[in-house]
Symmetry: C3
């Protein structure tokens, strides 16, 4: 609460598609309590509060394709209106807010702002997540850290050398190359660990003495959606691709100071190998749950409800992506508050 | 806290009588921390804070019929004065507030307001709770929900069809009859499930195919004291009583957003049957602890410290009792704040 | 938080010396998050927040004698400056606040105020803690109670008769003698249980029928450092010393309403006896953790963020030491805020 401003005319990930089966699911998204369920005509996202006694509708059940409140049995359909009252006519006034919702790229997305502007084409491309030629492992964790701290984390992957040392540290780190660029409002970063031996996470899968280049490229899209492309190539020959993976890091603010973190790892090798699935799952559990999350939560404890940028952090060259992403996000939130249609932010002179 | 206004010239249930034996018991009642113990001359209720160093007196022990502070051994008697100082004369200034307290109908009641107005006759009739011809099972639960949400719950029993579905749901629900009336400031509600087969909770005790009327009548008395009379009768013949029970639902506000819930179930059949006791206890544990409480706490999370009625809830005909009870309570609190003697609230035209 | 004023030009105990080995340790001291580690040239105390992304430095590791941030590997040395950046020159602006720190009397002390005034000679004498002729058992507990409540506790040991009844209660209590005096800004209290049989804690170690005097003398030094000298003597002959012990009770505020409590028990008998160590440890665990702490935390719950003295507590003669200690502390905090050099507080007329 505390009047934090969020971008509203945008898609937020509400859940992975497979999180919602027969039961409704309730989550708070950027301050709005929302319930999503699968109705007769597909996904429905509603304000998660019955207008009668204000019980969360997500405590209810999907009955005859609509959502029945757990307290007194009022039922709500896709249009947000009460469509059934077990003891009489549905009251006219009984209606809840409806949110545009869509399932795409294995995720369920909700749109918080003006429904007329809810264009599915605005969802960034994460088509790899449903590519049948790939093996994709997804997961979710909840963090007591503001989503903007996660943006910083994902747009500056130099942290892998320290936070994920046991998986990702490379002797090539001191020679790290990195660059930042922008396409429209998307911010790209690439870091390359040049000419080093494989990091622990991949050392088991190849000759541990072989010298390679590892490149991690991130594409950040507002509000906090990151596609990461990791590739292993012959030293100095980026066109000699050996192997790699994509991953998705989709962060949704819950309230100020807390966020939902949806992650996915997608590979085009060992696609039918459960042992590799398991190894990926282990990496996600430890890497995100036990390494990133405690760092972000410790940061949150220090930053509290202050604006990190106003605390005058020391800025390193490797922060270029994060600073730009925060600036774009702040500008778009401001434009939205002023009623200005969002335009791509021009790339600033560095 | 937060300036919530409570009715003070009224009796609140502090505990069941059997909760207080040799040790004192401390609870916060409508914002006031109170300790009750059994002294030489009977029950004593005091402000639960030693005037010396402000340790709760409820951490102490009953010694020689008075209450000894756990920290430095000052002792306080029925009059609220320090009656013993282990190292000298009791200091004149050492005294705490005394609350009128009485044990009646198996419960211990405290009066928060003007002691001169603490008339035991103002306690509503729950004499069935100590009727030796009946078997009564009592219990207590603490809920992170405002007591007014419990008033709504108890004055609109249509929720049993949904919240307590596995115990109480009836095929007769769509034909439910209900009415609301008032006697003085007491609000009555009756709902009848006409001509249906027995609900699961009683189906084992009778012919499960037999058709019956089930009626639940509630009497609400300010601030939040409910007597529920459930009766099973021959269809359409309310005078042909088969069996039934009384229950008490005595809700005491602790602080804004939390309450104490004292419940009791009293029957005149199977009075000496421990198996029936056990079945009742199970119903109370699940029905109140695992069904009602989570609903009320989820409601509380949505409503927060707002006034529910100011959130403009949709009002159903079945809310007639709850709305009236809230109105009477609000009126009496207002009168009390303005120093007007409480008069029964005239029954409004519906 | 909430603008609580602490004395800053003074030493606070940060940890026992043996709490800090190869890893850094982070604690909040009087509102300041501080990290202490053992660097190449000894102890270093820094602001516990990396100036880059505000992650607590205490999550990092000591590397090459300096402290490496867990997030991006910046390293900070004794001077508070960033001395190593793995990807380039250390940024000029990357520096954190340095606190004077010293290890003395088995404890690690930090100074929050003006570093130029951080004189080790201002640490009260607790030399017994490192006396090789003595056996000393130390411990730590964290309490959700304001440190000033611990001052009251430690400057009025009459509470042992009640709070620590099973260890310390004496039949001589009603004849208790006590006095209060002051030396500079140090407040002394002595209580004597005259001519009684041994309390339970020592009854096993001597003739349980022998009559003795037990005296407990406390020396309080600002902000909240107490030396307790307990001695057992022949009745009426204080020079006929039988045995005794010293203990240290070093309380450090964390935030308003919480404190760190460092305790130590030091004896000159049974010095090499592990069974006695164990008995002392048991006393500390129960006495402080299960007896004092719940009392202080219950007090805190009642007092909240109010100033206890403004709640107009009843003052007993036995509070003389605590009242004086609080007065001296308040005066010194006020002087510090006004920029007046601290002077010993004259002993008030009683």
């Amino acid at each position: 609460m505390s009047g934090a401003a969020y971008l509203r005319n945008c898609w937020y990930v509400f859940a992975w598609g497979d999180e919602i089966g027969e039961s409704p699911l309730g989550r708070t998204i950027a301050g709005d309590p929302i319930v999503v369920f699968r109705g007769d005509d597909g996904l429905v996202a509603l304000e998660d509060m019955c207008p009668h006694r204000f019980v969360p509708l997500s405590r209810g059940t999907v009955t005859d394709g609509v959502l029945e409140c757990a307290y007194h049995g009022l039922r709500f359909g896709a249009g947000g209106r009460c469509v059934f009252n077990p003891l009489g006519d549905p009251p006219e006034a009984a209606k809840v807010r409806v949110y545009p919702v869509v399932q795409l790229h294995a995720a369920i997305w909700v749109w918080l702002g003006d429904p007329d502007r809810a264009d599915v084409a605005l969802i960034p491309d994460f088509a790899f997540l449903t590519d049948p030629a790939r093996a994709t492992v997804t997961g979710y964790t909840y963090a007591r850290a503001d989503y903007q701290l996660a943006i910083d984390n994902l747009t500056d992957l130099t942290h892998v050398q320290f936070v994920h040392r046991d998986f990702q540290a490379s002797e090539a780190y001191p020679r790290l190359e990195h660059r930042t660029w922008q396409e429209g409002d998307d911010v790209y970063r690439a870091i390359t660990f040049p000419d080093g031996r494989p990091a622990p996470f991949i050392a088991g899968a190849m000759d541990p003495e072989k010298r390679i280049d590892i490149t991690m490229e991130t594409r950040w899209s507002a509000p906090s959606l990151v596609k990461l492309t990791a590739s292993v190539t012959e030293p100095g020959r980026p066109d000699h691709y050996l192997f790699g993976n994509y991953s998705a890091h989709l962060v949704t603010p819950e309230q100020p100071g807390t966020c939902h973190y949806f992650y996915a790892h997608s590979r085009d090798y060992g696609v039918d190998d459960p042992a590799t699935d398991q190894r990926v799952r282990e990496w996600q559990r430890i890497g995100f749950g036990e390494q990133d999350k405690p760092i972000l939560e410790a940061q949150q404890a220090r930053v509290g409800n202050r604006d990190l940028m106003k605390m005058r952090p020391v800025i390193l060259p490797t922060d270029a992506g994060g600073v730009r992403a925060r600036r774009i996000l702040a500008k778009r939130i401001l434009e939205e508050e002023r009623g200005i249609a969002a335009e791509p932010t021009p790339e600033p002179a560095q």
